[in-house]
Subunit: 133 residues, 4 copies
């Protein structure tokens, strides 16, 4: 696994639901934002415009251990590893302020697709800067 | 103005926020869903794929008069008129069950844009079936 | 497992992202809508208001096998089973029109929580009508 | 009007739709985030928990002048004024990087409501620090 990257997420009205805590699908949004900061959003935009390649979530296994409340500034902790030329595995956790365990844990598999939704090897311009060790 | 079209919207968890009512930007979503049912979503999809034309909101004036709660099935009431070749004006209201006034009122101006975001006349295949009188 | 329940979902602008297909966290929304139609949203609203009890997703395992496009009317297929007094397991699939396999598969574990986020047994008014066989 | 406050908004996948630009209701989200940073989210959370008071959008007039794209980091510019004891008027603009005019302009009226959705005067702890001059 890579080192752990940190990405802050502030909880706004838009994030909560009438039960008083963050609506559960939104954690997938925060995890994606955090991955984009690891990979570099501008690089992703260029890859899409120039080569028609994008990353897609293939699997997502989520465990929800605690509710997250309005106005909290949380920490998304992200690490990853490559598995062959086609797949990246991401371990992502969202931590509330001062928490002793993650509120949400996600194991995410990403693949690279072209505009016809065909599987493609992860391009070198993404792979190289993320390679570990 | 055209006749009034009715479109039902059920309020789910995803629609509410921690104040206990529907999160205000979501009403723009319901208004768009209702407009798509007036225009015909398949026709919009074809227009986008074959001619690269889409509709965009140019102006939206919203008044929020009442909170809307989880599990309510509301009625979106939509009417429209054309203004020249380039603009459609939509009057849209969201009514809670058994209400005596609309919870939210929207006056929406739509224009037609190509993929370079240039203004285009509203295409005949949209205009003709919606023409009044 | 229970019988399979069907719930239609139409894909609107709000559901898609700039890659041209449905944004992946939204499938969790459709799965929740479908579960609410199985359980009965009014019953959920009453349970929350009168007893302060709500259902929460504890685990969600998702597999994304196909992209879903604007204007499609998809079919969410839902079945469930109870596991003891505290847990329900839901198998949910989203099918595109005329598809030969599901576009998205979800295995969802739900638990019942009070307003202090403490685990509670699933209340009888939910359990009884859903009990199988 | 107050001075102009700046709040950055990065555009992620979640923000765009299949037309390739930001989905129009989302600008109301960005405007709300920016207002919360002016007012102070922690103060809003306390006001809600301790006094049962929240802010609600009463009117929103929006003009959409330009599409906003994935990966852009935009600037939300916010100023406000009070009108009597009950109303605040907010002028909010979203600017794309290097733009010569705002992509979206919003004029937002906010009021203060208690949990029974009754109008309340804006509380002093909000009013005092925001008072101008």
């Amino acid at each position: 696994m890579s080192k752990i990257y940190h990405h802050p997420v502030q909880i706004y009205y838009e994030d909560t639901d009438h039960s008083g805590v963050v609506y559960h699908p939104n954690f997938l949004k925060y995890f994606e934002r955090a991955r984009e900061h690891v990979i570099d959003s501008d690089k992703l935009a260029t890859l899409w415009q120039e080569k028609g390649l994008g990353f897609a979530v293939y699997k997502a296994n989520l465990t929800f251990q605690d509710g997250v409340e309005f106005a909290e500034i949380c920490d998304v902790r992200t690490s990853y590893q490559f598995e062959g030329k086609y797949k990246t595995l991401w371990r992502q956790e969202l931590w509330r302020p001062n928490a002793s365990k993650p509120a949400v844990i996600g194991d995410i598999e990403m693949v690279c697709l072209d505009k016809q939704k065909r599987l493609q090897p992860i391009p070198d311009e993404i792979l190289a800067p993320l390679s570990i060790g």
